[in-house]
């Protein structure tokens, strides 16, 4: 058995209002072996979440219509109570007091996001934990 190697491709939905950021996150997660679908905007996001059961939903806390990230979390949770949700939070904005997400991921760099997403996915991403340099 080899630790850190995914047993199957995890499915991740990334929800954000910024197409460029969304695309870069998709590339990042795909480079780690995830199968990624993206949703840009509120309605599309919910639609996507309903259509495809996934391993992880990544939602920005403040990016989708300001504070609406948490609102979308609640909607997704309402539809799929057991859905794994990661809420991406800007460190300066603080952690939401009552979030319905399973985990808060701070937006402090690509590596941290990958490591934390990998933890949520129980190591199914190919993230080299010992890579030097980028955090």
């Amino acid at each position: 058995m080899v630790l850190g190697i995914s047993v199957y491709q995890p499915l991740v939905i990334v929800i954000n209002d910024d197409q460029s950021l969304l695309e870069s996150r998709r590339m990042l997660l795909e480079s780690c072996g995830a199968k990624v679908s993206t949703a840009c905007g509120e309605i599309m996001a919910i639609h996507e979440a309903i259509l495809h059961p996934v391993d992880l939903v990544l939602i920005d806390a403040t990016n989708v219509g300001w504070e609406h990230g948490e609102k979308i979390c609640g909607i997704v949770r309402g539809i799929r109570p057991d859905q794994l949700i990661g809420l991406l939070v800007q460190a300066e904005c603080g952690v939401p007091a009552n979030t319905s997400a399973d985990r808060v991921i701070h937006r402090t760099g690509p590596r941290r996001m990958l490591v934390e997403a990998n933890e949520m996915l129980k190591g199914r991403l190919n993230v080299d934990l010992w890579q030097n340099g980028n955090t």
Binding site: S20, M27, G65, W66, P110
Partner: protein, 420 residues
Amino acid sequence: MTAIRILEVVQDAELSKMARGILGGDLKGTREARAHFYDARMAGSGGWAETLDEEAAAVEADVILATSRDADTAAALARAAVEKLQEVPAVIFTTPEAKAELLKRPEFAGWDVVSVDEVSRLPFSVMRAAELTEIRRREIKLQEELGQAKTLLLKNQKSITVGRLLGSIAHEINNPLEAVANLLYLAQRQSVAERDANDCIAMAEKELQRVGDITRQMLSFHRESRTVEDILVTGAVETGLALFETRLRHSGVDVERQYRSVGCLTAYSGELRQVFSNLFANSVDAMPNGGRLIVRVQERLGAIPTLCITVADTGVGMSRGVAKQVGELFFTTKGETGTGLGMWVTRQLVEKNGGKMRVYSATTEGRSGTVFRIVFSEPNARFKSKLELKAEESMQLNRVEEKSLAGSEKDGLGPEMMTA
């Protein structure tokens, strides 16, 4: 005890002596009367009016006392002195005959004329005039303070607008920066092919350009403009819309541009941008669940050329009474989150640049919305129509027009939907 400073414009020595005699002591025991004398007969070759200039400036008088036996001379002295000291009223001390003649003249109906046979009334007249001066000076001071406060409010409102935008701007900057970080991280990874790495770097560069664009927009909004210039109105509208791009998108607001003019308005560019920013902020707030924001710029070249800018939204609308109050200082419909400055400033800036703003609104279900219409017309406002612009400029501006005309075919929201 405050002294009353009296500038006496003397033509008759005997009358002057009589006036000094009664005004020299305490005025009714409450105020000391201190007279500063100016003798009209002592004036140099330049004439008494010129000499009075220096005298008037030096004295800082509370009251002007003109003494003369002749009605015309008394009137001329008093008029000249009042002209020099705008806020200071004059009392004319003269003979009963001259008084009778002066009172026949309509222009002296409101003047205080005291004759020698009622000299005991002179202290009262002087005191009343001094009180009037005090009131006028207080009014002038208040007007000055009001002017300063207005300037301060205008400045503060701009900071408030910037503050409100700051959150969205921070995110606008953070997003491309995070994308850059992601892309560079990917490009650095050994497993990534050189071609893919180059693609990542190219994408990162594009994102950095975006950051630059955002900061430039923000700086141009906040930059103080000290001189008036010819501003392309549609350009100012686009700058405002760019600042609100995120908020508009988040709120699900579709923007419809109806540009039927490429005219330039002669105004302070920062002020014009602030006008549009305030209007767009209002529209976004009025449409929390999405809607349409229509921006129309059109010009009419008739006997009186006009440039009309309409900002309309399909938001919650306002009642007729509320719409009437829009633009009043500290009036807000936004509760604690509103300052009541935005629309007041907007109106002030529109009027300052020679325009007029009107508000139409309706709350009828399914047809609610608000229309802000700003009209700049000659001669109060100065603008150059398309025809007046140089051919070179026109070619450049046409591109903006062509781009936007595509959206102007549908003219779905007009004033006819508004009932207010």
